[in-house]
Symmetry: C2
Subunit: 248 residues, 2 copies
DNA sequence: CTGGAATGTTGATCTGGGTCAAAGTTCTTA
DNA sequence: TAAGAACTTTGACCCAGATCAACATTCCAG
């Protein structure tokens, strides 16, 4: 049932696609070598759980390729996604024994893991790592706060538009191409996952996507492939005039 | 009109009330001295704006006493509070020129400010500062994510209960006393500010507070002074069974 | 292919919280 | 000590989004 290695890990850091965006972005050759000693790659399939909230977690690491989600749940089953982890994003918290969120791979995913204890030690001797991690954490904090506005104050339609905006921007940044005019991308999330991210029900997500389609804001091919004829138009629908920011 | 110094700044770090919780928590004597050279205190009155979103910000710093809020607004006036800054919390982001949120003092407040440029330099030579800031930022990220669950998935009543829970916990941590059984504290926020924090209208906030009062979950003296007869009961209302965490 | 999970769409109805409106309470400042 | 101004409560009504239900589509495994 295992597909034969969806995507293989990079052979070494030199050809790693996230070399210049991840925690290791600012490391020198010798530092990379130290990291290399405590590092290993792991592959996950779409749908697979990386960690369960409450589990012991003896590694931290970076998303190399693919997408994962960070999710929090209440006892009665209500669920809120609190983070969307894209290539180069960091998973885990140095100094923390147990995961406090569920981490799930929503697409096939490759992770570059570091054994936690040695990584923590490395961090205290390697300002380049600690510094980059601080920077990334501050970015994520900004993204989380931006998302608080979405959750707290935006309408369902604006929420959907905001999510599309983020995904489109990410594709522009990571792949090639500008974040304006005509754009095309795939939704890496199911309707349900979108609902969990947006604080909506999946029915509402479905309806609002249909509405945006009817209004010509987006064009769908199949369920997942989206074309945005005019990105500026989409941003207006999202309610945030142009504000940059967002998203690590 | 100025009250004669609501609360004065500490004379020196030795008697600073946040000495062991703020960015400087782990600094040695010599490091404190370096910080001292770029530091100054500022007093704000309740209601005063500390920084406007978009403004140049040439300082960062810590809340010494009092409370401030971090707020984000859409052009049409919808407003979402994205942070509640308590004593020892850090304001501003090293490396960032312009504020991206409004910062407002909701009570009289004393800040310990550092000139931004020299602080940034200091940070690169002083792992103790950078490290502590990373730790604090990670805590704030956790708090922001916890809040995403509140905003996205909780009912109005649960939201109010969650907020009361946070404030009660803070008072327990900062002041004296345990976070269980009978607790008493003052609300540092107006109904409107609570609404902005919770993604509600002030009418709903008012109604739900009345409802909690009627149900005996809380007892009010005046508008602001709250007694919680049974903290466990309040936590149940908040929907999170006991989960610790939250709040820097 | 084919039967059954997932996954997604659409409709009908209900409801929690928003909106609008009017009073009631404090707090100021004169 | 009075007259605002700011804050809070409460009521009546409404609507965006939830809930419940049926059906369509896609994707597999056998």
């Amino acid at each position: 049932m295992l597909k034969e290695e969806t995507k293989t890990a990079p052979r070494d850091c030199g050809e790693c696609p996230i070399r210049h965006r991840a925690v290791c972005a600012r490391c020198e050759a010798d530092e990379l070598e130290q990291l290399d000693r405590v590092k290993y790659y792991r592959n996950f399939q779409a749908g697979q759980t990386v960690v369960w909230a409450g589990d012991q977690m003896d590694f931290v690491g970076s998303v190399v390729s693919g997408i994962a989600t960070l999710t929090q749940a209440m006892e009665d089953g209500r669920t809120q996604m609190v983070g969307l982890l894209l290539p180069s994003d960091f998973i885990g918290r140095p100094g923390r024994e147990k995961a406090i969120y569920d981490v799930v791979a929503t697409t096939d995913m490759v992770m570059c893991c570091f054994r936690r204890k040695p990584f923590e030690e490395l961090m205290s001797n390697t300002p380049n790592i600690a510094h980059r991690l601080l920077e990334m954490t501050l970015d994520e904090l900004d993204a989380a706060r931006e998302w608080m506005l979405v959750l707290g104050r935006k309408t369902a339609r604006e929420k959907i538009a905001s999510l599309l905006t983020i995904i489109a921007r990410r594709d522009a940044t990571l792949g090639f191409g500008k974040a304006h005019g005509k754009m095309t991308f795939d939704l890496p999330l199911t309707r349900e996952a979108m609902a969990d991210y947006l604080g909506l029900t999946l029915e509402t997500v479905s309806r609002q996507i249909s509405a945006l389609r009817k209004d010509g804001i987006i064009v769908l091919e199949g369920k997942r492939h989206v074309t945005v004829p005019d990105f500026e138009r989409l941003m207006e629908e999202a309610g945030d005039d142009c504000d940059g920011g967002l998203l690590a």
